[in-house]
């Protein structure tokens, strides 16, 4: 990402300049530079957040699936929780990559909405459901002890 930062920024800028209506560009440098700068900052932030979450969610998957494998005694819930945590955790970071890729073509907000519905909500939702499910199982187990 660092190595290709300049090329990526140049590509995103050119793609945005080719779609002035999408980004609300008005053709006045003093006005447009702020719009382009914000979009480029968010484009870069999306790539950084993808990197950050791709690393972080790996650890989350490891930690939570370890807990599930150790303490969820019933096989069916255990398998479901592990599957949800793995798929959700692995897919969620891709939302940031998708968002970054969509910014030059669809703008900040529309790109975010698409990424939310295609990736963040389903995959993040799977992770959240699995985590609460696992928490419930752990609380039940604590109460029984």
């Amino acid at each position: 990402m660092v190595r290709f930062k300049l090329e990526l920024t140049r590509w995103a800028r050119n793609a945005m300049l080719a779609r002035p209506a999408v980004h609300g560009l008005v053709g006045v440098r003093d006005v447009d530079e702020r719009v382009l700068d914000e979009a480029l900052v968010k484009f870069d932030a999306g790539l950084r957040l993808f990197h950050l979450h791709a690393e972080g969610m790996g650890l989350v998957i490891l930690a939570t699936t370890t807990v599930a494998a150790t303490l969820a005694s019933s096989p069916a819930p255990r398998r479901s929780i592990i599957a949800l945590l793995t798929v959700g955790g692995a897919g969620y970071p891709l939302g940031y990559l998708l968002w970054s890729g969509l910014i030059p073509y669809h703008g900040l907000e529309r790109g975010k909405t698409i990424a939310e519905w295609l990736v963040w909500i389903p995959f993040g939702g799977a992770t959240i459901v699995a985590l609460w499910w696992l928490a419930g199982l752990l609380v039940l187990r604590l109460c029984r002890h």
């Binding site: 609300g24 008005v26 006045v28 702020r34 900052v41 968010k42 999306g46 950084r48 928490a135 752990l138």
Partner: protein, 204 residues
């Protein structure tokens, strides 16, 4: 692993998983405003030679030259003379005139764009909002200098700006048609400020 330790581990792991954010944007200076601040702080520190070098090599002078036709005569030459003669007050006054002219030109352009009724209401509101941000970014740099010399102008610009912002932000329904009037007022007030600050006009 005990269930209690597992619950603790789960809570630690759940925190980043639930934090879904997309970052925050903090507007940066552009080349002109950054160069203005460099020159201003150099002058305030009494480093006129540094300020002169920053002016000659910076984006502000380039932009000033490019817009010479719409600026008061000898604005650039006078600023250079003031830097060479170490006249801080005159440097500040000429920079104030330059940024007032930038803000005025943006207000006039915004007013012209908002008159285009072929654009949708939302599009005109978005355009108005973006122009207002750009106007304020320039005017805000010199508002203190304006207020020191002519507090009525400063108040008039601020009031017009607040009114304009109200039409694109605070109102329940944005009203880009009403936005044109405060923009016109901003342009008029700033034109008067420029004329009174540097009375000699370019002969055409």
């Amino acid at each position: 692993m005990s269930p209690l330790a597992a619950l603790g581990l789960f809570l630690v792991a759940a925190t980043p998983a639930l934090a879904h954010h997309v970052g925050a944007y903090v507007p940066k200076d552009n080349a002109i405003t950054a160069n203005f601040k460099q020159i201003k702080f150099s002058v305030q520190a009494g480093k006129f030679d540094v300020a002169h070098r920053l002016f000659e090599t910076g984006a502000l002078r380039t932009d000033m030259s490019a817009r010479a036709a719409s600026l008061p005569p000898r604005l650039e030459a006078g600023l250079r003379d003031a830097l060479q003669s170490r006249d801080g007050g005159e440097v500040e006054r000429r920079l104030m005139v330059f940024f007032a002219a930038l803000a005025r030109d943006l207000a006039l352009e915004a007013e012209r764009r908002l008159a285009d009724l072929t654009l949708s209401r939302d599009a005109r509101t978005a355009i108005g909002q973006r122009f207002l941000e750009a106007i304020w970014r320039y005017y805000n740099l010199v508002d203190f200098a304006v207020a020191q010399r002519d507090d009525k102008t400063s108040v008039a610009v601020r009031l017009a700006f607040d009114e304009a912002e109200g039409y694109v932000k605070s109102s329940p329904i944005p009203n880009p048609d009403k936005l044109r009037e405060p923009l016109r007022r901003i342009a008029q007030v700033l034109s008067a400020l420029i004329d009174s600050s540097l009375p000699a006009r370019r002969s055409s």
